[in-house]
Amino acid sequence: MTVQFSPLIRSVGLGGVLVTFGDKATDGANRAAIAFRGAVDALGWPEVEESSSTLVSAFFRVDLAQHRFEVVRDKLATVLDGQDWSAARLPEGRALWTIPAVFGGTRAPQFDEAAEAAGLDPAAALADLTGTRLRVLTIGFAPGQPYLGTLGDAWDIPRQVGLSPNVPQGALVAAVRQICLFAKDTPTGWRHVGQSAFRCFRPKGFEPFPLAPGDEVQFADISATELARIEAHNADGSGGAVREELA
């Protein structure tokens, strides 16, 4: 039996208030963070200038030089009370994305190594990576870049000791039961298991940041030939992905 984590409400400098739902990156704490942020946003408090969610927390940007922390804290505590946020419904307006990607081969050279680290044969690893509907746990590190979870326990693989010097934009990299889809070329200790042509940040596009926390993502296995065909006609950065509204 695990000890229940009581949500923490803390000030972050004079820049805002953070509500934290766990001390480990669990699926329940992440669901709570996304749902709670959505619930507070829906209240439209004037002192909240913007909000965001991280893996386990919801952040509300408030100028604490103009609004007393204790007052904001008590208001947030009132919203927190009386609900199990880890079981809450996620906000409306989320999307399901189906994103084509190549797994293994020269375009994703660490697929076999990652499967072995997870103790799976390549077919089982591929079934996990394409059969699991993942949630955008948080967006960060680079603009629009999603951390996706949560894969099964087998995928609790550590980061490799050394860094891969430059894993390309659109890469799917795996570690600690998560997949990150790179917004730009990045040195990383996570393993390069897949490659897409999906652009997470499109500064001049109609929708600069296509993904949002709470969205769901499912990867579809394609051939390297098919990926090359998508890349040749990818001016909008969509990478062949399909977006559907989630009810």
Partner: protein, 340 residues
């Protein structure tokens, strides 16, 4: 279109404004000018709104030709400044006549110098701002041959100056306890505020590394924390115990614990400290920090009333020693002009 033509330019020159708020959830930090106070000063000197775009310069400036009569103001780190070869005062506003050439650089104190123009720079806006966000590739550094458009100017005031403040040489910086301060033992926190740090030359718009002698400030809890939101001024302690003060262009989240957060009104002191300058941190309570910051915000809004006529600009005097400045002895070595 009114413009400044870039005849040549240093390596770290970029258009900035107050940045892009509202994209934290999308992984994009606000960015914008490193020294926000300097932006307020420029707006006060030109008697215009604070959200006009400015030119930010690190270490060196450049030379710029005016295609029209253009009002300018110079703020932030003091740089050598001349119009058609004649020195002009820093922390002041001037007219840049059509066809004249403004030459700026290198910095003599501080780190970031600013050039403001009447009407603001009217460069292309991306995601509702003109600020260059270098770490994410939004916008580009200014290059030789560029032409920087200048917006319509609704005012004509020039020849104003503001008193110089003390933020350009390091000093004491006030910090407030933050979400992870309690993860550090009392001993580490005490040693942190007792330490005199030096600003490391390794610094950019994302953050500034702080050097010190003696042990680092790492906490064992750092190994297990979950990546968490960053606000500008957060002091993160990396795995080897080194503090970094994070600035407006940092990443949105970070996996290193924060020992405290610099008050926004004191952040320009960190930003402007030159490499090697000494800095110390002093904790103030959240309640005191809120009062200090509220007072500073209101002072920044009143800068306009402090902008006074530039009565006599010693830098413009062609033959300094021929002036009887205060009727006393004029020394070429001990220059009273540098003391005001």
């Amino acid at each position: 279109m009114r413009a400044l033509r870039v005849l040549n330019v240093g390596p770290g020159v970029a258009i900035q404004d107050l940045g892009r708020a509202g994209y934290l959830a999308k992984g994009l930090t606000r960015g914008g000018a490193a020294d926000v106070r300097a932006v307020h000063e420029g707006a006060a000197l030109l008697r215009q709104a604070v959200d006009f775009a400015v030119l930010e310069m690190v270490g060196t400036g450049g030379s710029f030709e005016a295609t029209d009569d253009i009002r300018i103001a110079l703020t932030g780190a003091t740089m050598t400044a001349a119009v058609d070869g004649s020195a002009v005062a820093w922390n002041a506003s001037h007219i840049l006549p059509k066809g004249s050439i403004l030459t700026l650089g290198p910095t003599r104190d501080g780190t970031y110098g600013y050039l403001h123009v009447g009407g603001g720079f009217d460069t292309p806006s991306v995601l509702s701002a003109r600020a260059t966000h270098q770490s994410t590739g939004l916008g580009a550094l200014v290059a030789t041959g560029d032409s920087l458009d200048v917006g319509a100017d609704r005012s004509g005031d020039v020849g104003l100056t503001l008193p110089r403040d003390s933020r350009f040489g390091g000093g004491v910086v006030r910090i407030v306890p933050s979400m992870q301060t309690d993860d550090f033992d009392a001993e580490i926190r005490m040693r942190f505020v007792d330490t005199t740090f030096r600003r490391d030359p390794r610094a950019n718009r994302q953050g500034v590394r702080m050097d010190s002698d003696g042990d680092g400030f790492a906490t064992p809890k750092a190994l297990s924390i979950v990546s968490e939101v960053i606000v500008p001024g957060d002091i993160q302690i990396t795995g080897d115990g080194t503090p970094f003060v994070l600035l407006a262009e940092s990443q949105t989240t970070g996996g290193y614990p924060r020992i405290g957060t610099v008050l926004p009104c004191d952040l320009p002191r960190v930003v402007q400290a030159p490499a090697g300058a000494e800095l110390r941190f002093e904790f103030v309570s959240l309640e005191d920090a809120a009062a200090i910051e509220a007072r500073a915000q209101s002072e920044w809004c009143k800068l306009r009333s402090l902008a006074a006529p530039l009565v006599r600009d010693p830098a413009e005097m062609q033959d300094l020693l021929s002036y009887q400045l205060i009727g006393g002895v004029v020394s070429a070595v001990h220059s009273p002009l540098d003391e005001g």
